[in-house]
């Protein structure tokens, strides 16, 4: 790829900073006005979207497609140079389009969703901040800048999850998300620094991706594996892989647009994006790739199983997000960044659609979130129902929707490389079809039976739904893989795998129809599974184990350290020194006894000693 300057850098900077400007404007001037704040936020993200589209055309006008890197030196001294800038290439622009495109849809949707909420200006400010941070991750051209925006995204996520901070569960969920992310970011930072420290092959050390691409082939493979695994720690936290997946479920405490944008389409996909952007590191370490692949596969299966026992509509969708993220990570672990990113793109479409649909349902049923309190909504909310169906089918991977193409790309990759992983992924897909079917049949199927009026949501909310539904349908045919990685030839669809997975999906849906087609008062599965159901309800006891660890081990460690600091460092070392000085002073005070003769004695003693010293 040649660096042709056909891309206008100004467009990139505008796309970068437009949401930040929106956030600052809202925070400074418009915190009291609901309409203005929402309009400014929407304007900000739409500006970024328009700029992204323009950049997209500019990139693909050139053949081969253009890329551009521009950066300012932020910190520079002998040992360290940190830049601030962007690197635009086809991968980046595709991700940017997803973020800004899906983001615009969700911003517009939020205008309707958050209409009744009194603190919606704060919501739009925080959402704009998030958009800025996410764009920062997409555009960053070096690890340090990426890390900064990584943390910023974590911050925005915390702010938005705990948006209704008066509610204890929401506040706790925000803290939980932040803590778990912080944990993973520690490993991430270690990886970044390790990579930087070994990146000197004669031109000095660097954080820039372009520089590191040249360096990586020369590095010791063992250290490279360790670095890759450390960087993967960041992915584990941000993209909620096992064992740091626990925050994503509780993150559903945030408003539904937040769940749609952050915890489905973009932020959690940042890990996948990182893996693709810096794939040159992971691709050269087979061990790391194996670890990544298995982590993804296990996450996918575990989440799919847990979704069966969940009754909150948003939590079911959260588990499905977890499962699909696992699938994406699996794709990347099988050295298929193209397949992983393809699935990320289509997933963004239909997951956002599903979440927005869920939000529509929640608003319509007056903030009811338990699926067993909803029934037969298809008849009452046709647009929502149909778009939700499209999303469900796309998620299950039914031909010819977008999800079919991307999911089978990954499954095909697994089939040819590693049978175990393929079996795990296929099982997870089967479960996915089952619980999504369960969700759809319980909420939308059958006869409506609501005591109060349920009607379709306003246009401002249904329009984004339709937009996303269209994208979910045609997503497989617009040649996304070609745009993501122009220099790679797209893989042929493995027909065998496609047929198997279609059969599995249909079986899953059929099975769920059998159990849930006829509406019952509560989940019949609970009785059938018995004790195993309890295990599922407790989310395989991850939270309980972590809670026990924090309460008993970590707290005691912290108390020990606190006591150590108080007693040893403060009382003994610092206090000891001051006491020493004070005691010394008290002792030497006796020399000032006021007797002149004594002074004369000391004086003469000093002279004699001095003489004796000099004499020798």
């Amino acid at each position: 790829m040649v660096l042709i300057n056909m891309i206008n850098p100004l467009l990139v900077w505008v796309a970068f900073f437009a949401p930040l400007v929106a956030c600052v404007l809202i925070t400074l001037f418009f915190l009291r006005s609901k309409t203005s704040s929402s309009l400014i936020a929407i304007a900000g993200i739409l500006t970024s979207f328009v700029c992204s589209c323009l950049i997209f055309t500019q990139i693909f006008q050139a053949n081969p497609p253009a890329q551009l890197q521009q950066s300012l030196t932020w910190i520079s001294f002998d040992a360290l140079t940190i830049n601030f800038g962007f690197l635009i290439n086809p991968l980046a622009i595709m991700m940017l389009l997803i973020v800004t495109g899906v983001g615009s849809a969700i911003f517009i949707y939020s205008r309707g969703y958050m209409d009744e909420d009194p603190s919606s200006p704060r919501f739009f400010a925080e959402l704009s901040l998030f958009a800025f941070s996410m764009i920062g991750i997409v555009l960053s051209n070096n690890f340090i800048q990426l890390f900064i925006f990584w943390e910023l995204v974590g911050l925005s996520s915390y702010l938005l999850i705990g948006f209704w901070y008066a509610k204890p569960s929401a506040a706790d969920a925000g803290v939980k998300a932040f803590m778990v992310n912080r944990l993973s970011d520690f490993g991430f930072l270690c990886g970044i620094i390790l990579l930087w420290s070994i990146s000197d092959i004669g031109h000095g050390r660097s954080f820039l991706f372009t520089d590191l691409t040249a360096v990586v082939p020369h590095l010791n493979p063992h250290i490279l594996t360790i670095t890759a695994l450390l960087l993967f720690c960041g992915v584990v936290g941000k993209s909620a892989q096992v064992p740091l997946h626990v925050w994503l479920i509780d993150a559903m405490e945030g408003p539904t647009p937040v769940s749609a944008l952050i915890h489905a389409a973009t932020m959690v996909a940042a890990g996948i994006y990182l893996l693709s952007r810096t794939f040159f590191i992971f691709g050269s370490s087979p061990t790391a790739l194996l670890v990544i692949a298995y982590t993804g596969a296990i996450t996918s299966l575990m989440a799919a199983i847990l979704a069966i026992a969940e009754n909150d509509i948003k939590r079911i969708l959260a588990y499905s997000t977890l499962s699909q993220l696992g699938l994406m990570v699996l794709g990347l672990g099988l050295a298929g960044p193209m397949q992983g990113m393809y699935h990320l793109t289509t997933h963004a479409f239909f997951k956002a659609l599903l979440f927005l649909g869920a939000g529509s349902v929640i608003i319509a049923t007056h903030h009811e979130q338990n699926i067993w309190n909803m029934q037969g909504l298809l008849k009452k909310m046709p647009i929502t129902g149909i778009t939700f169906l499209i999303g469900t089918l796309a998620l299950c991977g039914i031909f010819p929707l977008s999800g079919f193409w991307s999911k089978d790309a990954i499954l095909g990759l697994a089939f040819t490389h590693n049978t175990v992983l393929y079996l795990i992924a296929a099982t997870a897909s089967g479960f996915t079809a089952f619980y999504m079917g369960r969700l759809y049949f319980v909420v939308f199927w059958g006869e409506p039976a609501h005591s109060h009026e349920v009607h379709e949501s306003p246009v401002v909310m249904t329009l984004p739904l339709i937009f996303l539904a269209i994208l979910s349908t045609i997503g497989g045919f617009i040649g996304i893989p070609h745009y993501l990685f122009p220099q790679k030839t797209p893989e042929e669809l493995n027909v065998r795998v496609a047929i198997i997975s279609s059969i599995v999906a249909v079986l899953g849906l059929g099975f769920s129809y059998m159990i849930y087609g006829k509406r019952t008062a509560s989940d019949p599965l609970a009785a059938k599974l018995g004790n195993f159901y309890t295990v599922l309800k407790n989310k395989f006891y991850f939270d309980i184990v972590y809670g026990w660890y924090v309460d008993h081990i970590q707290q005691n460690m912290a108390l020990f350290l606190s006591r150590f600091e108080k007693e040893f460092i403060v009382r003994l070392c610092v206090g000891g020194l001051t006491n020493l000085a004070r005691q010394g002073g008290k002792t030497f005070r006796y020399l000032q006894n006021g007797l002149v003769q004594f002074y004369a004695l000391i004086f003469i003693l000093g002279t004699v000693l001095l003489f004796l010293l000099m004499y020798h």
């Binding site: 003769q597 004594f598 004695l601 003469i604 003693l605 004699v608 000693l609 003489f611 004796l612 004499y615």
Partner: protein, 173 residues
């Protein structure tokens, strides 16, 4: 022959110095110092420094030490005899330092080999010679010392005046 005289006067000097330091009665201290000055004066004569020997006797023993005696008598200190309980707290330390000084002096002395073999010159510090030098080469210091004595008188008078007006035991002055 003069060596015997030297040892005689040296011995008296040492004994008298010890008496100055060790005697209990302040009167004995002063009188011991008088004896010491006498022997010192004799030693000066041995060194043929006649003028300074006489000046020592006249000024020191004659005036200064008499002044000391005046004070001792006026303040009735001759009746006070220091008991051993009133000895200084630091006498052990003081004696040690003194011995250390003596030791360091001895060390310096040992290395000064010429002291053992030097021959005396034949100058004589007679009053004519000293007087001539005093009034020619050293005239300025000579005049300045008179100024110094004047200032000393001022100091003493002012101290005594203050003591007169505020003192408790005024009947002794």
């Amino acid at each position: 022959m003069s060596l015997y005289f030297f040892y005689l006067f040296a011995g008296i000097l040492i004994f008298a110095s010890l008496a100055v330091v060790l005697a209990r009665n302040p009167l004995y201290n002063v009188l011991a110092l008088v004896v010491a000055i006498f022997s010192l004066s004799c030693l000066f004569v041995l060194l043929e420094a006649f003028f300074v020997g006489m000046v020592l006797l006249l000024v020191y023993a004659g005036a200064v030490l008499v002044f000391f005696l005046f004070v001792v008598m006026c303040l009735n200190l001759n009746t006070i005899t220091l008991t051993s309980a009133q000895q200084s707290r630091f006498r052990l330390l003081g004696c040690t330092v003194g011995l250390m000084f003596l030791a360091s002096f001895g060390l310096a002395f040992k290395s000064f080999i010429r002291a053992q073999t030097m021959d005396a010159s034949n100058i004589r510090g007679t009053i004519e010679i000293i007087g001539k030098i005093l009034f020619t080469d050293y005239l300025l210091p000579f005049e300045l010392t008179s100024l110094l004595l004047l200032i000393a008188i001022f100091g003493i008078v002012s101290l005594a005046q203050g003591a007169l007006s505020t003192g408790k035991n005024t009947e002794n002055l």
